[in-house]
């Protein structure tokens, strides 16, 4: 069986306000996005504090893989050692608006990055 996936025609990436979101691997229905902040955090612990202060709930189970629940039930995975950020949108988010939602959340994250 080789029927096409449901969201073949989606944009691969979106850029705005100095941040870029790129569709993540295996992303069906536009749920997974890799986030590239224009300027990554200089201090990851400070960024972690800023996330918690910004309403993100820390569910981390592996020390090297930070796992935050964002307002709205979305999930943010942070790898402080490599700087990778992955956003997993909640399945109840409106399907057609997911790319824009991901970009909007990425912009919000950029604003949370501490700037000494």
């Amino acid at each position: 069986m080789s029927a096409p996936e449901a969201d073949d025609d989606d944009p691969e990436s979106l850029t705005g306000e100095g941040v870029t979101v790129v569709r993540g691997h295996g992303c069906f229905r536009r749920l997974t996005w890799e986030i590239h902040l224009g300027e990554p955090p200089r201090s990851w612990p400070s960024f972690r504090d800023a996330l918690v202060g910004g309403g993100f709930v820390d569910h981390t189970r592996l020390p090297s893989v930070w796992d935050f629940e964002a307002p709205g039930g979305h999930r943010l995975i942070v790898l402080p050692e490599t700087g990778r950020l992955q956003l997993r949108l909640h399945y109840l988010s409106e399907p057609d608006g997911r790319p824009e939602l991901a970009l909007s959340m990425a912009s919000g994250l950029a604003r949370l990055v501490p700037r000494e």
């Binding site: 069986m1 080789s2 029927a3 096409p4 996936e5 449901a6 969201d7 073949d8 790129v22 569709r23 993540g24 691997h25 295996g26 992303c27 069906f28 229905r29 749920l31 997974t32 890799e34 189970r61 592996l62 090297s64 893989v65 995975i77 790898l79 050692e81 490599t82 990778r84 992955q86 399945y91």
Partner: protein, 427 residues
């Protein structure tokens, strides 16, 4: 993906020591994703026709679920019909199969499904571009029948279930009717954890053992707390994951083969190829999804571009998913990959159910090993990875595969281990 108290599934999950075969409440179990599940179901339907395929899938689900639920209720202390039914439904959701509500007694009744793994994931994967005309949830139907049998003490494999509405056919919800079967099938001895353990031989290790064992343990620890979310689904690594009954996969595969050998022997080769391809589908989507995940990057590190760590990592994933103690016996990049196991979830079932095989029956094992070679050599892991349907098509259908696979040994044939040899066609 969410976590719930261990009572849902964690405390019932057991890995057989040194064999990396998994059992859930005494029933052989493995993890598989929706891509694999849908592909295998479709393969069975292609082989037997829509009606024959659905009947076999229902029978296999009912049989394997009965074996499972009987033990589950004992271990969870469920005594009354209400307790047993609740136990069955909670576990169904915890294993990632969706929400099933059964309102039935010994004489029959009805059931409603929401977010059922098969129907829901079919709609997610294909629904926007393909119209389906037959229901997709034979596994849920069989599970519901078995739940009634166990809860109300009805003889095994005597309840029938018809899925009369399915979200995969664009119904609003999945609905089922249950009734006593007019012609129950002849029963065969169940294949439980007990039967599996009885035939296990001494285990062994291979190359990169420390690395493989370490990653497998990390993955097992990570998946131990995973359970269905509020929908009863497990969404992780870009796929919908199920903890599933190995007896279901094995029976639909081997019975479809046996039926095809009787009815259309010329088609057996095609079916065997499709069953091997189910291994490609699994490795590409689930293994690929895990390898590309931030969790992998955090636990194991960034990919180097060397194929060997991908091979070793894939064998670790296979172990963590309960496929068996897959070991690396030989690996020469661009030439050969030899994977050996003291047993696989296919071989132990085959031997228990069918006796000694005349040829290597572990078609999933064969296909998975080939796909590991393909993933290790043909995917640029140092660049952003997008394992889309198009990439799958290009890798596995875009011309002749650069690899061939041969099963050289099988415990199902009486050999001391199972072994597959993957060779580069140009080597």
């Amino acid at each position: 993906m969410s976590t719930v108290p261990a009572s849902a599934s964690e405390s019932l999950r057991v890995y057989l020591p040194d064999h990396d075969l998994m059992a859930m409440a005494g029933a052989p179990a493995v993890y598989h994703c929706h891509h694999f599940n849908l592909f295998l179901d479709q393969t069975v339907d292609d082989a037997l026709g829509r009606e024959g395929g659905a009947q076999l899938r229902f029978n296999a689900a009912r049989e394997s679920a009965h074996t499972f639920l009987q033990q589950l209720c004992v271990r969870k202390g469920a005594v009354t019909p209400v307790e047993k039914m609740q136990c069955a439904m909670e576990t169904f959701a915890a294993m990632g199969h969706g929400k099933l509500q059964v309102g039935a007694a010994a004489a029959g009744g009805a059931a409603i499904g929401e977010f059922l793994h098969y129907g829901y994931s079919w709609m997610q994967k294909y629904g926007q571009k393909v119209r389906r005309r037959s229901p997709a949830d034979a596994f849920a139907a069989g599970y519901a029948a078995a739940a009634v049998e166990v809860a109300f003490g009805v003889p095994r494999e005597t309840m029938d279930t018809a899925e009369i509405a399915c979200v995969a056919t664009r119904a609003e919800q999945c609905r089922f009717e249950l009734k006593q079967s007019a012609s129950p099938p002849a029963q065969v001895a169940p294949v439980r954890d007990t039967e599996v353990r009885a035939q296990l031989r001494p285990t062994f290790n291979g190359g990169d053992e420390e690395t493989i064992a370490g990653i497998a343990k990390g993955l097992r620890d990570f998946t131990a707390g995973v359970s269905g979310d509020e929908r009863g689904l497990v969404q992780a690594f870009g796929v919908f994951v199920t903890m599933h009954l190995a007896g279901y996969y094995n029976r639909i595969s081997f019975d479809a083969l046996a039926a095809t050998e009787k009815r259309a022997p010329d088609s057996v080769g095609v079916l065997e190829e499709l069953l091997r391809e189910s291994g490609h589908v699994c490795v590409f989507n689930t293994f690929g999804g895990i390898l590309a995940s931030p969790e992998w990057e955090g636990m194991v590190g960034k990919h180097s571009g060397d194929p060997r760590p991908i091979v070793a990592g894939s064998l670790a994933i296979a172990r963590a998913l309960g496929f068996g103690h897959w070991t690396l016996q030989e690996f020469v990049p661009n030439k050969t990959l030899v994977v050996r196991a003291p047993a696989t979830y296919e071989s132990v079932y085959y031997l228990s159910r069918h006796g000694v095989a005349k040829r290597g029956p572990e078609l999933f094992f064969q296909g998975a090993a080939l796909a590991i070679a393909q993933l290790a050599h043909r995917v640029k892991w140092t660049e952003p990875v997008h394992l889309t349907a198009e990439v799958y098509e290009a890798l596995f259908h875009g011309g002749a595969l650069p690899w061939k696979v041969e099963q050289t040994q099988s415990t199902a044939m009486g050999h001391p281990f199972s072994e597959v040899v993957v060779t580069h066609v140009g080597a």
